[in-house]
Structures are given as structure tokens and as C-alpha cells.
Point group: C2
Chain length 249, copies 2
């Protein structure tokens, strides 16, 4: 499994080979063995297989083509609704409509999603995580009929990888993310050292050139994750958390 | 690996066998292959091995004994600081001090943590996730000297499992967490059906009796996750997100 993890890459193009319900359910069941908060399993997953459903979801993911071309789309949600309904039915009053329980549920959903990802890749499936889920959570809530106390966190597109496989993307050296004993803040020298390899990669230099930017960092801050988008999506997310009942007042 | 996942259980008691730096670093490096937001790797991990460091962390985790008895404690953090410092040094202005980028970084940290967990368990290590990290994030920030734009999300205690291994805990049936096409809200009948097995387990009945409660749900809502605690920790978390620079105003 570790060998499989070392070679992993994001897969955005899939063959027409279907992913059986049997395999999908086995993998989701295995993933449910992942740790979660107090064994409350504060998550749900929505499976979208039909073309109409995928086309409805596509705009919320900025029409990234994987949504409509992947055999299966999985939307992983922080879900406190099921637990609260159980409590109500058992003479228990759950005070779970707050930020702390949203974070607990989001953690549960993420551990579940990543455990699924590891198991699925081990079985030869290819995956792509879509970070757009948190941007347009409000739209996805409507499309998937998510009730209060449920918020979508990440989406995975799932299928068998189409050849040729994409190149594996680079990572920062381990030293860049690892701190011993306490956090050692970055200095101009350590930043230069940790980002050198990334900045010198031909694929990243090409990225800077075609976007007419001076540095790789500018591609991220000016084009991919600009301040005004981040702030707009932060407002929307806050609004969604309120509407879904996770923030008082 | 899937067989290992099916058998997984949380390990809270460890042998005295040390976990080598070599193994730990290999597993963290493998875990860094996990998906992350735009390949920005918005996370860091703090390794605590020395007894003094563990004793400092223990109160923030309500003195759960795993913190001081495990050979290694790992604190996984949402970290936007490194990226922002890189951007500043490269004539780029990152507008990352907001809720959306906090969520992106928290997602990155969780996927990284769970990928580490899967790899570590495959190599025979035993782990326990501590959800207390988000409760007392402010204290942990001080102890580990985390700068602005860094927030601890989860903690893992790591070591070799002590025999006898604990029982595997139950999970809800897959149907309880799986929704096809759209969310099918729970009815009194489906709640009864999905929670039946859990409620009938002798270990859970025992749990209800020794806590002098009427239902299992009450053990969670009245003792383990009471409303007033959840609300208090929500306030603290909101304050911490502000202090760490993730919320405007």
C-alpha cells in the first residue's frame, strides 16, 4: 500500500469502465473504519452516478470536466443531522448547532474521504479531489437536498485511470513541513531553500511564462487564488454555515 | 492494505519500543503525496518526542494519558504562514487571511494526517486521534509557538500497540451514511433501524447503566459532548481563528 501511495497522482481522465456498486460499497465500508469523533460518525456521502445529476453539479464546480466524465462523483458532507435526529428520538437534547461541532463533523468527513481515497487507489481506481465544494456549498446543498446541519466539504471524482497517466506533481521537501518540538518560523533563507526545487521545475517555469507573471507565487495569488475570490467565498461560506444552523445569532 | 484497514482499531496503549526518526520521516513523506489544495500544501506537523514537551501538551488534551505515554505525539496544523511568507518574498500578495483559506488549509492538514495514519498502521504502528486539539487550540498555539495563520487541527499519538489489542468499535451500517443521488432525510423508522445494533451492544448498554442514563444518546449529549461545553469551545475556537488572523474584523 505504501508503494501505491508513493506513486499516487491525481487522475482527471477516466476510461469507460464502470465502477460497480459492490466495489464502491466495499470501499466506503472499509473507509468507515477510519477514526471519527466519539464514534458518532458525523458524516454522510452522496453518490452521483446519473448523467443528469452530474450535469446539475457541474456548474457548482466551475464546470471542471471530471464531474461529468467520471463514472462516479462522491460528495462528502459534515453531517450532524443524523445524530441530532437520533438524540431527539431518544429523549436526549443535542447542543450540536455550533462551530465546534461543525469542525468535528468536517474532520470526520475528511478522515472518511481520505480513507476511502487510499482504499480506492489500492484497488486501481483513480481520483480527483475538488476543492470547489467549499466555495459553492450553498448551491450543492440545494442540488443534493441537504437538510440543516449538513454541509458538503469535499468532492471526489472516481473512475479507472485513462492512459497515459499524468506526471506525478512535485512536493516540498519534508523539512519544509516538519517542525521538531515547536514551530520554527521560516526565514528568507529557509523559504528560498524549500521552494527552490519547485520554482526550478520546467513545468512551473512554463506556467509562469504562459500566464505572463514574474514569479510562480504570483500565479497563485493573482490568478488561481486571488484575494477578492477568497474573500467572496469566505462570505458565502459563513452565510452557508449560518443557514445550515451551525452558527448562532 | 485494505485488510489492515478492515481490522483497524484505535490504540491508546503502547509498548516501550521506540519509533525511529527514519520510519517516522518515511511515513510523513509518503503522506505528503496526499492530495492538497492547488499543491500549496497548506499544512505543517509538529513532532513532540521529549517528555517535557509531552507534559506541557497534556493539560490541553485534558490529560488523556496517551499524550505522555506514547513515544511520539504529532500535532497536525492548518498552515498558511509558509505560503504567505513565500509569496511576500516573491513580489506576490496573498489574500489568504480568511475563512475560506482556513478551511482549505484544514482540509489539507486532515488529508495529510489520515494518509499518515493509513501508512503508519500498515507498518504496524498504533494510533489514537485526539479531537481535543480544536477545543484548546489557543493553549496548543502557545506551547508549540505557532505563529499567525497557523492553527492546530488534530493530534495523533503514535507507538507500537501493547497487547492485548482493544476490541474493534462498532460502526453504523453503510446504509446509514450513504445517500444515492440526493440526501434522503432520516425518519423515525430509519433512525431506529440504523441505531439498533449499536444500542443493543452489551458494551453500550453497560455504558448507559454505569452513567445512570436512560438512553445511549443521553450519554453523548449530557456527559460526553454537552451543549454548554460545545458552545464554550465554539467561542474559544472563533476567538482563536481571529487571533491567528483567519477572520477579518
Amino acid at each position: 500500500m505504501i508503494e501505491c501511495m508513493k506513486k499516487r497522482r491525481t487522475i482527471r481522465q477516466y476510461t469507460s469502465q464502470p465502477v460497480s456498486d459492490e466495489l464502491l460499497n466495499e470501499l466506503l465500508e472499509v473507509a468507515s473504519r477510519a477514526s471519527n469523533t466519539g464514534n458518532m460518525q458525523l458524516y454522510s456521502v452522496i453518490v452521483t452516478r446519473d448523467q443528469e445529476g452530474k450535469e446539475q453539479l457541474a456548474p457548482a464546480h466551475f464546470n471542471q470536466p471530471m464531474i461529468t466524465s467520471a463514472p462516479v462523483v462522491l460528495t462528502f458532507c459534515a453531517d450532524v443531522n443524523r445524530f441530532v435526529k437520533w438524540a431527539e428520538q431518544r429523549k436526549a437534547e443535542a447542543g450540536f448547532d455550533n462551530l465546534q461541532m461543525f469542525i468535528a463533523a468536517a474532520i470526520d468527513a475528511m478522515l472518511f474521504a481520505e480513507a476511502f481515497a487510499e482504499a480506492a487507489e489500492e484497488r486501481g481506481l483513480g481520483l480527483c479531489y475538488l476543492g470547489t465544494t467549499a466555495y459553492n456549498a450553498g448551491e450543492i446543498i440545494k442540488i443534493l437536498s441537504l437538510p440543516k446541519l449538513v454541509v458538503p466539504i469535499v468532492t471526489l471524482t472516481v473512475g479507472y485511470p485513462q492512459d497515459p497517466l499524468p506526471e506525478q506533481s512535485e512536493r516540498l521537501p519534508l523539512d519544509a513541513i516538519l517542525h521538531i518540538g515547536h514551530y520554527t518560523d521560516y526565514t528568507p533563507e529557509s523559504i528560498d531553500r524549500f521552494y527552490k526545487e519547485k520554482e526550478e521545475l520546467e513545468v512551473n517555469k512554463h506556467f509562469v511564462r504562459i500566464n505572463h507573471k514574474e514569479t510562480l507565487a504570483q500565479v497563485f495569488t493573482d490568478l488561481r487564488y486571488p484575494k477578492e475570490n477568497n474573500e467572496k467565498f469566505s462570505e458565502t461560506l459563513l452565510q452557508t454555515l449560518k443557514e445550515q444552523g451551525f452558527l448562532k445569532g
